[in-house]
Symmetry: C2
Subunit: 152 residues, 2 copies
DNA sequence: CATAATAGTTATACTTTTGTAACCATTATA
DNA sequence: TATAATGGTTACAAAAGTATAACTATTATG
């Protein structure tokens, strides 16, 4: 009998390119935001204010890359830099109102794009997918989100 | 009340970077295969022989990119090119034994990497994640796999 | 048969991401 | 207080992915 963990690995490996296809690609046409910028805005939306290092750790991005992405998001006024009063080395990043609404629009664009595909599903299947993705999200967040991967 | 479809969109948007982190990054150190090459091998593993165009459609990759990736996989002897006897324009790609075992190794490496994180989960949660990911995979494959996104 | 369409490759330019190293400012520690 | 460690930026090189156009070979269609 196959171990749960191997089944999970196999499934994640299969799901990954499908998400890539159904998310990154469609949204590319909708916005000037790069995939990296989208990821950053996503965790900012979920976590509120984060330091540059936090962002790098959440997404396993090299710090210099985080700087580049944030520079660009700032240019477009989607996020703000704020110095941390407790530690003057750290720079905290937070979404602006413009950033929040842009992210909402991205999410809507994704919904719209998905809708054309999800019509093929029955109401039960939709419900299943909704619940399954919710569970996956929660579990993956609980085990993956916080950990520190690498020091750049 | 929130629509299932919006919940799904939100969840997929959250899951995507987590998979990116837990799959692409860890495997990068284990193998010379690029993420794109990994995706290609994955669908070849699942679907058997595919034409160049099929691969591009499954993964929403521009055809020139598929050519580059296949060139490299052939160099490393993970796949083979075969002319289609029915239509001499099409080139079919299939995994070699070496490619299959390399892919299995990648999957094992991923399992191993996941294991260190999944220890935090209870047996029930593992079971949940296993089933949820299975459902997600099946549903996403059914609605996303076949469609043609764009002609390059 | 002439023409259009398809499958794939080659070439090229560009963007995004990755990886390192060097560096500054600030904080922690011996 | 001298030194090490941390947080972040800058600069640079290289890999990976994206996008287009031009081209060959083959097949489909008028």
């Amino acid at each position: 009998m196959k171990l749960n963990i191997d089944i999970i690995a196999e499934n994640l490996l299969a799901i990954h390119p499908l998400l890539y296809k159904s998310i990154s690609k469609p949204l590319k046409n909708k916005s000037s935001i790069t995939p990296g910028g989208m990821f950053v805005m996503g965790i900012l939306k979920r976590n509120g204010m984060l330091s540059m290092s936090d962002i790098g750790n959440y997404l396993s991005m090299p710090k210099p890359h985080v700087t580049v992405i944030i520079d660009r998001l700032i240019e477009e006024e989607y996020v703000l830099r704020q110095n941390d009063p407790n530690d003057r080395r750290v720079v905290n990043i937070l979404l602006t109102d413009k950033g929040i609404s842009e992210f909402e629009e991205l999410k809507e664009a994704l919904s719209l794009n998905l809708k054309s595909k999800l019509v093929l599903l029955s109401e039960e299947e939709l419900e299943q997918l909704s619940k399954a993705s919710q569970q996956m999200k929660e579990i993956l967040i609980s085990i993956l989100s916080k950990e520190k991967n690498k020091e750049y």
